[in-house]
């Protein structure tokens, strides 16, 4: 038990950032909701830890749990997520840098939030720098199909952030 807890502690600290960022993406920038979601993800990680067989990388395994956990909570979250003014993403004035940055990210999150659930998961994993082969493993779609789909989602996202 102690050994499991120690392993889990290491997993928690080395993956917290990744999981939280994906969750923030799912909650359109709502840090409190993302924190709750992240906690739920790690509870699932703990309860599934004995089943981890090293057949996939630990990161891929955790991303799968993250994406699936976010999916189950998404419908509830959708109601709570704020709608941000997308126009503000385009030209952020240079003064008040922190506020501007926040507005920019809110707009970006809002655009990500407009994507379909699967597309949202794909683009968040792409933004997190996960190799496309591993994104395919997380989502369960062929590698070639993921490549084409990512290209399409990127265009959709660019259009949205530029308010086209």
């Amino acid at each position: 038990m102690k050994e499991k807890e120690e392993t889990f502690k290491n997993i928690y600290h080395s993956n917290y950032d990744k999981v939280m960022r994906i969750c923030i993406g799912y909650t359109a920038g709502n840090n409190d909701e993302a924190g709750d979601l992240t906690q739920e993800v790690f509870i699932k990680v703990w309860s599934s830890l004995d089943e981890f067989r090293n057949e996939s990388k630990m990161a891929t395994w955790i991303y799968r749990i993250t994406v699936n956990t976010c999916l189950t909570r998404l419908r509830k979250l959708k109601k709570k997520v704020k709608n941000y003014d997308v126009e503000s993403v385009i030209d952020v004035p240079q003064e008040n840098e922190t506020i501007d940055k926040e507005i920019m990210y809110e707009g970006l999150y809002n655009c990500i939030n407009k994507l379909s659930e699967t597309n949202r998961a794909i683009i968040l994993l792409e933004l997190e720098g996960l190799p496309q082969k591993e994104i395919a493993e997380v989502i369960g779609i062929k590698h070639e199909a993921i490549r084409t789909r990512i290209h399409r989602i990127k265009n959709e996202l660019i259009k949205c952030v530029n308010n086209e």
């Binding site: 502690k9 790690f42 509870i43 699932k44 994406v67 699936n68 933004l127 369960g140 660019i158």
Partner: protein, 186 residues
Amino acid sequence: MNSFEEIQSKWNDQDKIKAPKDGFKSLMKKIEEIKNKQKITNGVLLATVLVLGGFFFYIAGYNNHQVILGLSLMIGSLIIRVVIELLSINRLQRVNRSKDNTLFKQELTKYYNKRRIVHIVITPLIVLFYAIGFIVLLPLFKANLSAGFYTYILISSIVLLFVFSLFIGKQIKTELTQLKFLKDSD
């Protein structure tokens, strides 16, 4: 932001998020709480089934067929409902979240489709049998209880049935919306 590279660069510029100082400790505490809560829930449901079962056998001793029939229908429907809910909760918890997203969605959709059958077919039957059981017992209530208490039982049961139906209706709506959401999520 005119290119994805710009979006990517902004994304990478985000501040690193560190786990809260006592985050792991509170996480382990939460895990422990969930375990205890599950034990309590299972205990309460098991105790309910045992008490209802015990009550049934106690009443059965009086050898009144009308009482046995009415109570069998009422208690039997309640026990079936409790067992179905326990099995459903257990099945939902066993849905493997470490599978890929496509397989996970398929499994979850299968789960909600089965729940739909429970809601559309089994639940109305359970409510019907419960109501029949109650109706079977009504003449006995009328014969053995005071007029005021009989009226109270009658009215409160109707109100309870109405509240219970609303509660189940809400649950059905939530789960059907979840099913629709899963189908639309691609």
